[in-house]
């Protein structure tokens, strides 16, 4: 299984400003001084191998959308944030306009998780088939409502793909697109659902927009079991722990610290920090990643958790 991130930002999409681009260019040019980078090949090698990630790349600004590339023919996604626009366009450019089968697992229906769908071009093309799964009883209404006046000029009915909505029951296992899928209720305004997705012994947990108050040991235990032995846990780490349990308590998000602890308790193999705070620039997210890796290192017992920070374009092979 290959996990590909198309949107990783929390709450609202963001874009780098001119000042941020200039800041990166200045840092790169200073680092390159005297290096004789007089060909594109030398410059590319320098950028890829020697510059820090926060200088040579960006974590990106699209809101939540993660693709699970399985060994089957269907396309599997988690959430339809603004990242799905890029996914849809890439797919049309490389695999043609129709004949596609999509399965989408929705964590919840807040705008940053559904806003990409009106810009998902395959949904407008006949011959495609989209099934949107979720546990909320307003699943279909949320999508239809955002695709009509006064919110959007093109009505949902103009989407010519076959589009279905399927309600799932939390804590029940389903076989969908060759995957074993189980949803779990999470703490978030209006409720959100994490998904534990398994195929041929590989396990991905998609757990975003989830607050872990840690005031109920049974709840902690249930999440540890949900994460148990996962190859990858995609985890909402929007806030610092201090913020999450003080000024931003009950805002529905979690922290890198809790992510590390839960993955350690669950003996998960990889933790991927996700749903990045929109006010964080690339340097800040890179620092968050470095600190989280350090935390994992100094609190490690007999099990190592590999720590990643999601970025738009990241691929993790399981």
């Amino acid at each position: 299984m290959l996990v590909r991130f198309w949107g990783t930002r929390g709450s609202i999409p963001v874009a780098m400003t001119s000042a941020e681009v200039q800041h990166k260019l200045v840092a790169a040019l200073v680092a390159a001084a005297g290096r004789g980078l007089d060909t594109a090949g030398k410059a590319r090698a320098f950028v890829e191998n020697e510059l820090e990630f926060s200088v040579s790349h960006t974590f990106g600004g699209n809101s939540s959308c993660v693709q699970l590339e399985t060994d089957g023919p269907d396309h599997v996604l988690c959430d339809l944030g603004s990242g799905v626009r890029a996914f849809g366009n890439a797919l049309l450019a490389t695999r043609g306009p129709s004949g596609h089968r999509f399965h989408v697992f929705m964590s919840h229906l807040h705008w940053d998780h559904i806003m990409g769908f009106p810009f998902f071009m395959p949904a407008y093309l006949p011959g495609n088939h989209v099934t949107i799964y979720g546990c909320h009883d307003t699943l279909e209404e949320a999508f239809r409502r955002q695709n009509r006046a006064p919110s959007f000029p093109v009505d949902f009915s103009r989407m010519e793909a076959r589009i279905e909505f399927v309600r799932l029951e939390p804590e029940r296992s389903y076989d969908i697109a060759g995957l074993r899928v189980r949803a779990k209720l999470q703490r978030h305004g209006g409720g959100s659902y994490g998904y534990r997705i398994e195929q041929r012994g590989r396990v991905v947990v998609y757990s975003t927009d989830s607050e872990h108050k840690q005031d109920d040991p049974e709840e902690v235990k249930a999440f540890v079991e949900f994460f148990r032995d996962a190859d990858l846990v995609i985890f909402d780490a929007q806030y610092s722990l201090a913020d999450a349990i003080s000024v931003k308590e009950d805002w529905g998000h979690s922290s890198n610290v809790v992510g590390v602890e839960m993955c350690q308790l669950a003996r998960a193999r990889r933790l991927c920090l996700f749903h990045h705070e929109p006010i964080f620039d690339d340097e800040r997210i890179a620092r968050l990643l470095a600190e989280t890796r350090r935390l994992e290192e100094i609190t490690r017992t007999d099990h190592r958790v590999e720590v990643w920070a999601a970025y738009d374009g990241l691929e993790i092979a399981l």
Partner: protein, 124 residues
């Protein structure tokens, strides 16, 4: 959980020992509770000396946050001091160093909270 207490004039210093994690956080909270009741405006101040704590998890930090909130609501003052290097890093990574008053030593904490407590500490 073992939680020794020592009074320095109007300030109570508390000395937890060991790991404060999922297994021990409730015991830590319970041990802390009787000492916090009197930490209020016109009453005691409190310092939690973490020199004996080798690890604190998010659940343990939550206990400190709740203690801080309680004391603030009572108009009192609470500080932590003397963090071991690992615990200090955990405070920094979790940003608890920004929401709690953290001092390098018990002496410095007492000096900030109460001159009388510092004098009592120096003469002890």
């Amino acid at each position: 959980m073992e939680l020794a207490a020592k009074r320095f004039a109007d300030t109570v210093a508390l000395f937890p020992v060991g790991r404060i994690d999922h297994a021990t956080a409730d015991a830590f909270k319970a041990a802390l509770a009787p000492h916090l009741a009197g930490v209020a405006a016109g009453g005691d101040r409190a310092v939690i000396d973490l020199a004996g704590v080798e690890y604190i998890s998010s659940v343990g930090l939550r206990v400190l946050m709740l203690a801080s909130k309680q004391v603030k609501a009572q108009g009192g003052a609470l500080a932590v001091a003397d963090l071991q290097p690992v615990v200090r890093e955990i405070f920094e990574i979790s940003r608890f160093n920004l929401v709690l008053e953290v001092f390098p030593t018990l002496r410095e904490a007492l000096g900030k909270l109460s001159p009388a407590a510092l004098a009592a500490f120096e003469s002890a």
